[in-house]
């Protein structure tokens, strides 16, 4: 029996989309792709446009000052949320993808030399592979990957060899398919010992567990607002201030400069240097509200609840003999999601039939083609949970799978 550290029914009542009148409400099991939003976040976004809308860092009038205050207050909330040592270390980006591209281009472009190694892993999302390929092609650096074992964990036996020549270790905190939670603090220590920097893709970890950038002792952290009950269009790059200070701009334009002549420009200090153009003001403010919402519940509480959901999900999937799920067994290093296959039925068909039963899951390669190649399946179905998921949602998934068996059996 699951004992949540908070009242899940109350949490659910705070998410308007889970309250829509419907004969058959949706069992939403695709939060790893994008989470639902609570009223507090939707209200923050609407309130900005209703009461505070003006550009930031420009106007001398009151509305603009108010917008700037709210925008910068959101930055401060995010800094507190991940325990950054300074709010200036928080850069607003569009999403995780843009945050990683920013580091790859701005840091990589000026620091990587031919033969330097960028180390990723076999389980990375395409957004933590392709940006590094692009900068490797430009600089002559080489991309290598840490392999994974049959349980979907990193194979770290040869990590000392793999780290030779590495200038950047770019690694996911939690796999978006396997649910594996990687030992990033250990990896960071080993990477730093050979002089490498460490970027952590926190898209799947920051929404679900306490993430403390100082405790992890990493150099960059990238994550997305929309996976953590915030709006789309805003993400975060956190970086150590000394590193950010030394990096050239990523995009050029307004806001990111000190002086401009036709011949040349000087650039603003961080974070403005990396926030060219009018930013996503309303979205950043709403992300601040999302962070407040999560902190009020407590990230440790959310992690504890999701750990139980994870065990329940796997226990129920194990009741369906045709199902093969991927990733490590239930334990401290597995998040509340499961990608799986079903004998004889294509993932698209599974997802379609589940949809007809009111169960929303994702089917496909989930932007992890190298991982699916390692698993030797072209695609999979993924069910993923969040703080508003309840055991009833998971029960409906399993009932839907019986329907799949019935049709395809």
């Amino acid at each position: 029996m699951i004992k949540a550290p908070f009242d899940v029914a109350t949490i659910r009542s705070q998410f308007p989309i889970l309250q829509l009148p419907s004969e058959r409400p949706v069992a939403f099991l695709d939060s790893a792709s994008s989470s639902q939003k609570p009223e507090a976040v939707i209200a923050a976004l609407a309130d900005y446009y209703r009461t505070t809308n003006a550009n930031v860092h420009r106007g001398v009038y009151q509305l603009s000052e108010q917008a700037t205050f709210e925008f910068e207050r959101a930055r401060g909330r995010v800094a507190l949320f991940i325990n950054a040592s300074h709010h200036r270390e928080v850069i607003f980006t569009r999403n995780t993808t843009e945050a990683i591209n920013l580091v790859a281009q701005a840091w990589g472009g000026s620091n990587l030399r031919p033969g330097d190694v960028i180390l990723v892993s076999q389980m990375e999302h395409h957004s933590n592979i392709v940006p590094w390929q692009l900068i490797a092609q430009r600089t002559g650096a080489v991309l290598r990957a840490i392999p994974i074992d049959s349980q979907g964990r990193l194979v770290l036996d040869d990590i000392d060899t793999l780290l030779q020549g590495v200038k950047m270790l770019a690694i996911t905190h939690q796999s978006n398919v396997l649910g594996t939670i990687n030992p990033v603090a250990d990896l960071a220590r080993k990477a730093h010992a050979v002089g490498a920097l460490v970027l952590v893709d926190g898209a799947q970890s920051v929404p679900h567990m306490p993430v403390d950038v100082q405790a992890l002792d990493i150099d960059f952290l990238a994550f997305s607002g929309h996976k953590m009950v915030g709006p789309t269009g805003v993400g975060v790059l956190w970086g150590r201030k000394a590193l950010l200070d030394a990096m050239p701009p990523f995009l050029g334009g307004g806001s990111m400069i000190k002086t401009v002549t036709i011949e040349s420009s000087t650039y603003a200090d961080v974070p403005a240097r990396f926030e060219a153009g009018t930013p996503m003001i309303g979205e950043a403010i709403a992300l601040g509200a999302a962070v407040t919402y999560l902190m009020d519940i407590g990230m440790a509480n959310i992690a504890a609840y999701e750990h139980q959901l994870s065990a329940y999900l796997i226990e129920r999937l194990d009741e369906v003999p045709e199902v093969t799920w991927y990733g490590p067994p239930v334990g401290a290093d597995r998040g509340a999601m499961a990608a799986f296959s079903m004998t004889g039925v294509h993932p698209h068909d599974i997802a379609q039939i589940l949809d007809s039963e009111g169960v929303a899951v994702r089917a496909g390669h989930h932007c992890t083609q190298p991982l699916h190649a390692a698993l030797d399946v072209p695609s999979s179905v993924r069910a993923s949970c969040y703080l508003y998921t309840n055991t009833h949602d998971i029960d409906r998934l399993v009932r839907g799978l019986s329907k799949v068996k019935q049709l395809f059996g």
């Binding site: 039925v345 294509h346 993932p347 698209h348 068909d349 379609q352 039939i353 007809s356 039963e357 089917a363 496909g364 390669h365 699916h372 072209p378 695609s379 049709l407 395809f408």
Partner: protein, 134 residues
């Protein structure tokens, strides 16, 4: 649902018609959908500008495989001008699935048609715009 998984679709998925490869062949065209890994290879023998034999092989969801199976039944005896006229509307009519509001699954259904069109146009030495089929 289960418009999408009516008996005919499941029947063709379980017991596909014209499944296999042709060797030799006049046309052999493979298409795949990178989104879900669906793959269809379509082989044709052509005599006097008409399709005399057809076979398909591949792996994928029930919709892509059943659509290919039904399409191959239609193709035997079809002349190449007819193939050029044969489009999305005809295929959807043939398989009878309500895919207008489901662009993701539409791609699954159209995969074999894409292989057919690309293969036949290539055989004729002509270019084809496949945008409509992507």
């Amino acid at each position: 649902m289960s418009d999408m998984y009516r008996d005919l679709i499941l029947e063709h998925h379980r017991y596909p018609h014209n499944f296999g490869t042709l060797d030799p062949h006049d046309v052999s065209q493979e298409e795949h959908n990178p989104l879900c890994g669906d793959r269809i290879r379509l082989d044709l023998r052509i005599v006097d500008n008409k399709i005399s034999e057809v076979a398909f092989s591949g792996k994928g969801c029930a919709v892509s495989q059943a659509a290919a199976s039904m399409l191959t039944d239609e193709l035997i005896g079809m002349d190449l001008d007819q193939v050029r006229q044969y489009g999305k509307a005809e295929l959807l009519d043939l398989i009878g699935l309500p895919l207008d509001k489901n662009p993701v699954r539409l791609k699954c259904a159209l995969l074999s048609l894409k292989a057919l069109k690309v293969g036949v146009y290539r055989y004729l030495g002509q270019n084809i715009e496949t945008d409509e089929l992507d």
